[in-house]
Subunit: 371 residues, 2 copies
């Protein structure tokens, strides 16, 4: 599981202050208050959960999309077609975080009436961490599923070219004393960010992570960055065709179902010269109380998780059996207590963006700094 | 991807004849005609698709469950609780194949009305190949998802004990000239059957397939059979915690959601002395025509699959990029043309079962035999 260590040059930022500033930056783009609040909320959730790759470190890139005229900062999602439990929304190329917050809320509302509901969004943009939307349903006692397609980085088994995204799957549910269970996983063995970290640190790569530009196993991060990622399972012998299948199924349920861009036709991540992203995102919500007494589902899930974390561990295990989402929930609690740890590069990007847009960082933003 | 080779000692059996005989065996247990027809249909689908582990080779074990009084051969599933798009059924410990055929048909019917629908089955038994139910929806132009929990064989990441089933995920959808797309995968790196084959053939095992009884990597099939399977992704470093998460999510959506047995509490596969299996199975169906023109979804999926199979291949690839379900569909066509290839052990089990129950094999069953 991911390990969340503070960067050596960490500054600790106040989450409330950072959220307020982020919303101000988004409003500076002409975006209405309520939409900006959604964007800031989702980006901060990522930072607080220590998923630095999907939070305010991306803000400069989002701003560049708006400034280049690629993304519409004022657009609101509209319902395009529907049956009672299946709805297609058109995000009209606005902020993905807002369109998808509206979409998951609609799925939640319909699930309460019909037992389950699915909302598919097209003409959307990057929506941050997939897990946020699943957690929104789980925090209301429901099972939430969140899926998105993304830029082609993953080579299907036997292919030498990246043709599918890292297409994440997030599933969250209430789990009693375990809080909210949350699996939030790319369907590749590792996300591209892990390769970039390995590059900065000069590491070699294990087999099963990535291919080079010729389709041979990549042993160095640089070779991998010029090539493609392996789907979960790695090589064909170790089940990589299953991870390829999962990436394809996410594509099928998002871009293909919703009529958005799909597969190799999705533009590069945060490209400012290839036109709108036209991503597809899908939210599925199930209300367990439709078929059982309130609390019964949570109690069973708590029992199962208890049985898992109590298991005797394998030799060499770095710790006890973990529950998905628990490391991120612990990071969130830490962030709220002592601030969000951001590295120097991330902090500098916030300073530069604030300066350029005339939205200076608040004086109460930095709580403390590593020695 | 799995390779389907004929056994050396293959007999080629007529599918129609074998289906008729299988139904007769099931009726001999006191099972009504329509239920027996469903059981035979699903078992034959597995044999025809070359998934020998889930077809008539299991018939002797199903019969043993009925004879031991563990499974009820006449029970019919009933709707227990429902909202319009989410239904809980009680299979009343009858044949899983029948209960789940009824369940997926109900999900199909409701999905046509509401856009999507989910049916969860509890107090069920083994239902054969997960893919059959997903394909039933796909053959009617819908997206079908089929999930089941199963006996604990998989060790969660860091655990030395098997606590979760190989909990398969099947997703099928119409794909134009590609026929029906069908991903049907265990969430372990390999199913237990692959280890059993390796044992018979004296192979060693790659890292990432299995653990021995102490929780260390199993290098021999015997060590693995005494231990547990790795979730998809293998070791923690190569993403095994994601496969563990997928197995857990399947558990969450089947046994936990439906109030069936779950996780380490599921009885051993085909045990005749641990009581009813009480498995949970879940079927989710989506009607793409609820939100787009008829044929539009299939056309997009066909385009994507075409882009995938046309991809230049990696060095050493054993063939072109494959589409999930295509090898099984080819096996099905072969089986219908020249008969189902069964090995000597499988054939002998059918002869023995027929003799014992007074349901002799039909004279037109064996079409031909390998020299």
């Amino acid at each position: 599981m991911p390990v969340y260590e503070d960067p050596i040059d960490a500054r600790f930022l106040d989450p409330v202050s950072l959220r307020g500033w982020t919303a101000a930056v988004v409003r500076r783009m002409g975006t209405p208050d309520d939409i900006a609040a959604d964007v800031a909320e989702v980006l901060l959730a990522s930072d607080r959960r220590s998923i630095a790759s999907h939070g305010t470190a991306r803000l400069t890139q989002y701003v560049a999309l708006v400034e280049a005229g690629v993304m519409d900062p004022v657009a609101r999602p509209v319902v395009e077609r529907e049956r009672p439990a299946l709805v297609l929304m058109d995000a009209q190329n606005g902020w993905g975080h807002h369109a998808c917050r509206v979409a998951v809320d609609l799925a939640i509302e319909r699930a309460r009436t019909f037992g389950t509901a699915t909302v598919v969004v097209r003409r959307s943009n990057h929506y941050g961490i997939a897990g946020w939307y699943a957690l929104r349903a789980a925090s209301q006692g429901l099972i939430g599923v969140s899926l998105t397609n993304s830029s082609p980085l993953v080579a299907p088994t036997r292919s030498r070219r990246p043709l599918l995204g890292t297409n994440p799957i997030a599933v969250a549910a209430p789990a009693g004393r375990f809080g909210l269970y949350c699996l939030d996983m790319a369907t590749s063995t590792v996300p591209r960010g892990r390769i970039e970290v390995a590059a900065r640190r000069g590491w070699s790569l294990p087999v099963g992570w990535a291919l080079d530009a010729d389709g041979s196993p990549a042993t160095t991060p640089d070779a991998a960055l010029a090539g493609s990622l392996h789907p979960l399972g790695g090589e064909e012998e170790t089940g990589g065709y299953k991870g390829y299948g999962l990436a394809l199924v996410v594509e099928l349920l998002t871009g293909i179902l919703g009529g958005a861009a799909f597969g190799p036709n999705v533009v590069s991540l945060f490209s400012t010269h290839e036109g709108p992203a036209d991503l597809g995102e899908t939210f599925l919500v199930i209300d367990p109380t439709a078929i059982d007494a309130p609390g019964a589902f949570e109690a069973r899930l708590e029992t199962l998780l208890q049985q898992l974390v109590e298991s005797p561990t394998a030799p060499g295990a770095p710790g006890p059996v973990l529950v998905h989402g628990a490391p991120e929930a612990a990071a969130e609690a830490r962030a709220d207590e002592r601030g969000i740890a951001v590295d120097g590069e991330h902090y500098a990007s916030l300073v530069a963006l604030g300066d350029r847009l005339g939205v200076p960082l608040p004086s109460d933003l930095v709580r403390s700094q590593a020695a």
